[in-house]
């Protein structure tokens, strides 16, 4: 019985295994959107996530600090826009997170 419990405990990932930068719901949503797209601008992400300007900016700056996203300032006509793109590091981190989460959820199903 004890062996069985230990087995379950060892096979389940701990919270430390999940990247906490990605695990936060708003950032997870932002990264998911950028993962399925090539690039998108700030307004587009704001409309899709329904986050406020300030909230989105703070999440984006956190993602920028860890180099998960690339932000480029551009001008279309006279209007400045911020183009956001998932970096290679961000893409592989997201894929890693995705695999762990799937493994975690699938292991719950098996039990």
């Amino acid at each position: 019985m004890k062996n069985n419990k230990d087995e379950i405990k060892n096979s389940l990932p701990t919270m430390d295994d999940f990247d906490k930068i990605i695990h936060e719901p708003a950032r997870l949503l932002i990264l998911s959107i950028l993962y399925v797209l090539e690039s998108a601008d700030f307004v587009f992400i704001k409309n899709q996530t329904k986050l406020t300007d300030g909230n989105l900016s703070s999440h984006l700056s956190k993602l920028e600090v860890v180099e998960f996203i690339d932000a480029q300032k551009k001008f279309i006509g006279k209007k400045p826009i911020t183009i956001l793109k998932l970096s290679q590091k961000g893409r592989s981190a997201f894929e890693k997170y995705k695999k762990k989460m799937v493994y975690f959820l699938n292991s719950l199903n098996r039990r």
């Binding site: 399925v36 797209l37 587009f44």
Partner: protein, 218 residues
């Protein structure tokens, strides 16, 4: 496969948000309305001057598609100026670009198929057998010009309303002939004017709602 489904759904949801501004509905409705002056121009003016039956169909299709190209350019301009600055700019990944490329190639091939069908197969092979059967003509026009291209486009770009619009228009052409049969005199393309106007009205309503929901950012 949880993650694949979720991300695919997410991508689809983002892609479908492209059709929520109503400009697509206005574009389709306007195409239907434009077919009417095209029809009358060719039918009443050009045909009287020089053309035979073959040239009539050729010029009809040619002029129709020229108008379509002009409308598409206008649509692109409006989409860039009015829509993108409200909902933001987005670039899709390679799979979407491939689908769009496929659609453009299919459109070009289909244009050739229509020209071949109405310019040769119909006039040389079907017309001598069927004669001027108004119901058969209506079914041919409804299927070849409206239902098939609308369904292919709706499937490729995942714009589900286009299935309904295509079906509605195809049925409309047949209904027009049925009315013509019972009343004695048919009003060609009147039904297209009605259907086109309804679709444009729906598009305008959606567009106004869109403009209210997404005001221009300062």
């Amino acid at each position: 496969m949880i993650e694949v489904k979720f991300l695919k759904k997410m991508e689809k949801k983002i892609w479908k948000s492209n059709f929520k501004h109503g400009l697509w509905d206005i574009l389709f409705g306007t195409i239907l309305i434009i077919l009417i002056p095209t029809h009358y121009f060719i039918g009443n003016i050009a045909l009287r001057i020089t053309m035979g039956h073959h040239s009539f169909i050729f010029w009809y299709v040619f002029l129709g598609f020229s108008c379509l190209t002009g409308l598409c350019i206008l649509f692109k301009y409006l989409s860039d100026t009015l829509i993108s600055e409200r909902v933001g700019f987005v670039k899709y990944r390679a799979n979407r670009k491939i689908i769009l490329k496929k659609m453009i190639i299919l459109c070009i091939i289909y244009l050739g198929v229509i020209l071949l069908f109405f310019g040769y197969i119909y006039t040389k092979l079907i017309y001598p057998i069927m004669g001027n059967d108004r119901f058969f003509n209506a079914i041919c026009a409804g299927l070849m010009i409206f239902l098939i291209p609308c369904s292919i486009t709706a499937y490729l770009i995942e714009f589900k309303k286009l299935y309904i619009y295509g079906l509605l228009t195809a049925i409309g052409t047949l209904v027009n002939e049925i009315f013509g049969y019972f009343i004695g005199k048919s009003y060609p393309f009147l039904i297209l004017l009605i259907i086109g106007s309804i679709i444009v009205c729906i598009g305008i309503l959606i567009f106004i709602r869109f403009l209210k929901k997404y005001p221009k950012s300062v």
